[in-house]
């Protein structure tokens, strides 16, 4: 046989082998059937076991290995194990939730509990529209593990259920309570004799004073400029009331160009115009800007209450970081100065096709027990969504100010959720607009126009499922 002939034959064999290989690997989209084999492990429900956990069913937990680490989860797993000693618990932690778990969702064999958080988070819009999440309603109705006479729902802080609900179904348990505000160092302010301003005019005057003292009044995460959208939208909501946020969340036409948003954008433009922002901030990422702030190069920064644990390694002793609400625009504000944005964050979910959905819900019940919640607070210095979780726990300085701000805000607290409904709108589109606005390249009108264009593009995109909330 000639050499050429052999080559030709083997090439033909290769060609034939390819479709066969396709059959072997199967198509990426064909795995798993849609029958929803969730809850393969089902036990008998009883007073002791309201969720019907099968006591020897294995439980798989995947934790986002971010600012909170994974130790707290291991403690929760140990508590679960204590109650169900026969259950084998498989624990893993990753920073890349979507890349690690995507094939398993398609395959129909997802883990039982997923902490869907971080930059590699799976977009909730897609998860919900594909019915990939188990309904957690049963969990809410179940009695609390260690607070007698109360259901799990009764032990949660207000807003927790709303934030995790899509079209009225509670699908996502956001485990931590996060407060978004403006942060400063009490030490720096005491040393210089400054005090936090309650109105916008006073804030501008204070910025002038700070700048004259040779410190930049503001810095921000220039590479993730959406951090600055938080105080701006907060200012607008305090001026115009929670309906401002409702319109934005529901993608109402021209929601971003409401009068309140216009006034707020005009107000915030002042810190750009007067060069109150640390030079070079547009080129800093969140860590770099927060570190510059910790080093005393800037007085204010916008962040959520994870800031303290995120900056633990670089915060000087006695820095005493304090969170404060955005200054009021004036006496016409619908909400008082103390009103602050508080929301449940750090999402946990049970995939609809998990083998042990009952175990997943029971794991949540363990996390939401008083014991589980207090252990979390102690381990990671953050607030869980369980009322009274901080009782008798000594809080670090920053977290103590968070608790105080929450108390002061009370029923005036507000929130928005468009970032959960439409991840791209905040992460990409509003983010880009904020970058242009806070580096002074566009005017307030252009800024709001750009945000509105982003919201409109989401509203017109048929492949994105839309959600509405009532209030």
């Amino acid at each position: 046989m000639k050499r050429r002939e052999i080559l030709r034959r083997s090439a033909a064999a290769g060609l034939l082998a390819t479709p066969a290989a396709g059959l072997l690997t199967g198509c990426a989209t064909s795995g798993g059937d849609d029958k929803g084999d969730g809850g393969a492990y089902q036990g008998t429900k009883s007073e002791q076991n309201p969720l019907g956990v099968k006591e020897d069913a294995p439980l798989e937990v995947v934790i986002f290995n971010g600012g909170f680490g994974e130790e707290y989860a291991k403690a929760h797993e140990a508590m679960y194990q204590e109650k169900y000693p026969k259950a084998e618990i498989k624990h893993s932690a990753t920073q890349e939730i979507s890349k690690t778990l995507q094939p398993r969702f398609v395959d129909g064999s997802p883990p039982d509990v997923v902490n869907n958080s971080g930059a590699g988070q799976i977009d909730f819009n897609g998860l919900v529209s594909q019915n990939a999440l188990a309904d957690l309603g049963e969990l809410l109705a179940a009695p609390s593990l260690d607070v007698p006479g109360k259901t799990v729902r009764d032990t949660l802080l207000p807003g927790t259920v709303e934030v995790g609900s899509y079209d009225g179904r509670f699908l996502v348990l956001n485990y931590t309570y996060t407060v978004y505000g403006i942060w400063h160092s009490t030490k720096l302010f005491a040393d210089r004799g400054w005090s936090y301003a309650k109105t916008w005019d006073e804030h501008i005057a204070l910025c002038r004073q700070i700048k004259a003292a040779g410190i930049a009044p503001w810095t921000y995460a220039g590479l993730h400029p959406r951090y600055m959208s938080w105080p701006l939208i907060s200012t607008a909501i305090k001026l115009g009331g929670p309906s401002v946020a409702l319109a934005i969340d529901n993608l109402e036409p021209n929601a971003w160009k409401s009068d309140a948003m216009k006034t707020a954008a005009d107000a915030w433009h002042q810190i750009v115009k007067d060069k109150f922002i640390l030079a070079g901030s547009p080129g800093l990422d969140h860590k770099q800007s927060q570190t510059a702030w910790c080093q005393g190069k800037a007085a204010f920064i916008s962040c959520g209450s994870w800031l303290e644990s995120e900056q633990k390694d670089v915060t000087p002793a006695g820095f005493n970081m304090t969170v404060a609400p955005t200054p009021s625009l004036g006496s016409g504000d619908k909400l008082p100065f103390e009103a602050i944005r508080g929301t449940a964050g750090e999402p946990f979910m049970v995939p609809a096709k998990a083998k042990n959905t009952a175990g997943g819900l029971e794991y949540f019940r363990t996390m939401l027990s008083r014991k589980g919640a207090q252990d979390f607070t102690r381990k990671v210095a953050s607030l869980p969504v369980v009322a009274g979780a901080t009782d008798g726990v000594e809080l670090p300085f920053g977290l103590a100010t968070v608790v105080k701000a929450l108390d002061a805000s009370g029923a005036n607290g507000f929130n928005w959720v468009y970032n959960n409904y439409y991840r791209k709108l905040e992460r990409n589109l509003v983010d880009a607009a904020c970058g242009e606005f806070f580096s002074g390249r566009i005017s307030p009108t252009e800024f709001l126009d750009q945000c509105q264009r982003g919201a409109d593009s989401i509203a017109q995109d048929n492949s994105v499922k839309k959600y509405k909330r009532a209030a």
Binding site: M1, I6, S10, A13, G14, A17, T18, A21, G22, L24, T25, C27, A28, T29, S30, G31, G32, D33, D34, S98, K99, Q102, F105, V106, G108, G120, I122, D123, G126, L127, Q130, N131, A132, G222, L223, P225, L278, A279, G280, S281, P282, G283, L284, D285, Q288, A292, K297, R423, K424, R427, N428, D431, A432, A433, G435, E436, S439, R441, S463, V464
Partner: protein, 303 residues
């Protein structure tokens, strides 16, 4: 004897072909198939939508913006990298001025060659993080140097849409040049010295030598470099994702990042992302073919 070789050859050929089929061809084919669906990536449900994804692609301003940046990369990175690579390589092999038959490198050639190769040893991720710190507006090396020479307000580099893209482009060139210095250097070693000696006797300058002798004799190597760099320019994903994530305001976006962001980033439209991937596939293929065609010249053989 002949018939005994057939099983041997087949047993060597089939496993690699099968592996290639399973891990390279079949994902490609699947990507083509997925690109015609509206698959959202987290369930097995995907509806056929025909060419709708490609129609969306044609009107997607963000994709075109990213493509424009890739086009700039394609036009600039290969030319600059090859020019710098040729310049450094020729300095290292024939830049010395010893007065004698001038075909020695500059002093310290070995050291330079080593130093140029450094970026090649580092992983791209490290390069990206390294340069991110260098470009840092407040504490970076670059702005430190600019301030030292008296510039009061140096730019914010990665935070400024005028510079961000070019900053990444510069890093791309920086990280590639070293390899091509070594590649071209090795190829230059293979050029017979008597050719250089002959043209030197004829009184050719070093520039003429480079243009008339070295480049024509290196043409095959340059062509390979060209194709590699062109393909790299159509990618650029890792550097961009780590250094700017496409920002500010999409000014440094590239098509690879668009695909990633559409599937694993801010959305999970795997069907649409596959369509972007398929478009990328054809772009890369056509660029590679074009580069091969336009660079084709007669091969010169020394003998």
């Amino acid at each position: 004897m002949r018939h005994g070789r057939l099983p041997l050859i087949l047993s060597f050929l089939l496993p690699p072909l099968a592996i290639y089929g399973i891990f390279v061809l079949s994902p490609y084919l699947q990507a083509f198939q997925i690109s015609t669906t509206d698959w959202l990536g987290y369930s097995a449900q995907a509806d056929q939508v025909g060419l709708a994804n490609f129609r969306t692609l044609l009107h997607d301003g963000y994709v075109w913006n990213a493509l424009r940046n890739n086009a700039i990369l394609l036009a600039v990175v290969p030319v600059v990298t090859i020019a710098l690579g040729l310049f450094f390589a020729s300095m290292l092999t024939m830049g010395g001025r010893k007065g004698r038959a001038g075909v020695t490198g500059v002093r310290g050639t070995a050291l330079y060659r080593l130093v140029y190769f450094f970026p090649q040893v580092l992983s791209v991720v490290i390069i990206a993080l390294l340069w991110k710190e260098i470009y840092s507006p407040t504490s970076g090396l670059l702005n430190g140097a600019l301030r030292a020479i008296g510039l009061a307000e140096p730019p914010a580099w990665l935070g400024d849409p005028r510079f961000a893209f070019w900053c990444v482009l510069a890093v791309m060139v920086w990280s590639n040049v070293g390899f091509y210095v070594v590649l071209f250097g090795a190829a230059m070693q293979a050029i017979p010295r008597d050719i250089y000696e002959a043209v030197l006797l004829d009184g050719a300058s070093r520039a003429t030598m480079l243009r008339k002798i070295t480049i024509p004799l290196l043409w095959d190597t340059i062509q390979v470099a060209w194709i590699y760099l062109a393909i790299a320019a159509l990618d650029g994903f890792i550097l961009v994702q780590l250094m700017t994530n496409g920002g500010p305001n999409f000014s440094s976006d590239v098509i690879g990042l668009r695909m990633y962001d559409t599937s694993f980033g801010s959305e999970n439209k795997f069907g649409y992302a596959s369509a972007i991937g398929v478009a990328m596939f054809f772009l890369t293929l056509s660029v590679a073919v074009l580069a091969l065609r336009t660079a084709r010249r007669d091969r010169i053989e020394y003998s």
